[in-house]
């Protein structure tokens, strides 16, 4: 039973446009959510996070939105750059226990 789902395996956007990556979860007890970015042949790197008591967190070009009633979060990248091309993983945790990851979305930013 997959508790964190990323239903879009891939996404392509033009450079300069907005990229929106989506994530759904089933466990309403999750209290912290994170996004990781992964380049080929490297480990994931932490990008941005949000607590369940907030609905938005912003860091430069990256913003994460949390909709608890819909059990949905999204990552917005504005403006998108070719260097943003990578696999993006959504992750969730409950009470600081181990992270549960989604299957990832391959983002390709076209120049």
């Amino acid at each position: 039973d997959q508790q964190v789902k990323q239903n879009s395996p891939s996404l392509s956007v033009q450079e300069g446009r907005i990229s929106i990556l989506n994530c759904d979860y089933t466990n309403s007890m999750f209290d912290y959510f994170l996004w990781y970015k992964k380049y080929p042949a490297e480990g994931p790197t932490f990008l941005i996070s949000i607590s369940s008591i907030k609905d938005k967190n912003e860091d430069g070009r990256f913003t994460v939105f949390l909709n608890k009633s819909a059990k949905h979060l999204s990552l917005h990248i504005v403006p998108s750059q070719p260097g943003d091309s990578a696999v993006y993983f959504c992750a969730a945790t409950l009470s600081a226990r181990q992270l549960t990851f989604g299957s990832g979305t391959q983002l390709t930013v076209l120049p």
Binding site: V4, G43, T45, A96, T100
Partner: protein
């Protein structure tokens, strides 16, 4: 500069061989993890440790074993490799009481032939 190191980066090995994947971190983190990932799939937790001499199995059943004799070292061992063990293995660590972010190593791509 990486603070968590995995070796080897790539390994091709024959069926039945014993292998150990190394993972070391220099950050003094209490918690360490092993994840397994196949292309296009989620990261599956196979082992974790919350401190020295503490190890637990993760959500995904694995024939591998781990040990945590020192804080900085968390090796993973397969006693008898099989083709079904072919995957990418990612080691991570985190600090108790932080914002739950993990630091990952670069991974080991294992191929069993």
């Amino acid at each position: 500069e990486a603070d968590i190191y995995q070796t080897p980066r790539y390994l091709v090995i024959g069926t039945g061989k014993k292998i150990t994947l190394e993972c070391s971190q220099t950050m003094g983190h209490d918690k360490m993890y092993w994840y397994q990932q196949d292309p296009g799939m989620e990261l599956h937790l196979i082992h974790y440790s919350y401190g020295v001499n503490s190890t637990e199995k993760g959500d995904l059943s694995s024939e591998s074993t781990v040990s945590r004799i020192r804080t900085e070292h968390f090796p993973l061992t397969l006693e008898s490799a099989r083709p079904s063990h072919t995957s990418q293995y990612l080691c991570a660590s985190s600090e108790t009481g932080t914002n739950y972010g993990y630091t990952f190593g670069s991974g080991t791509r294992l191929t069993v032939v």
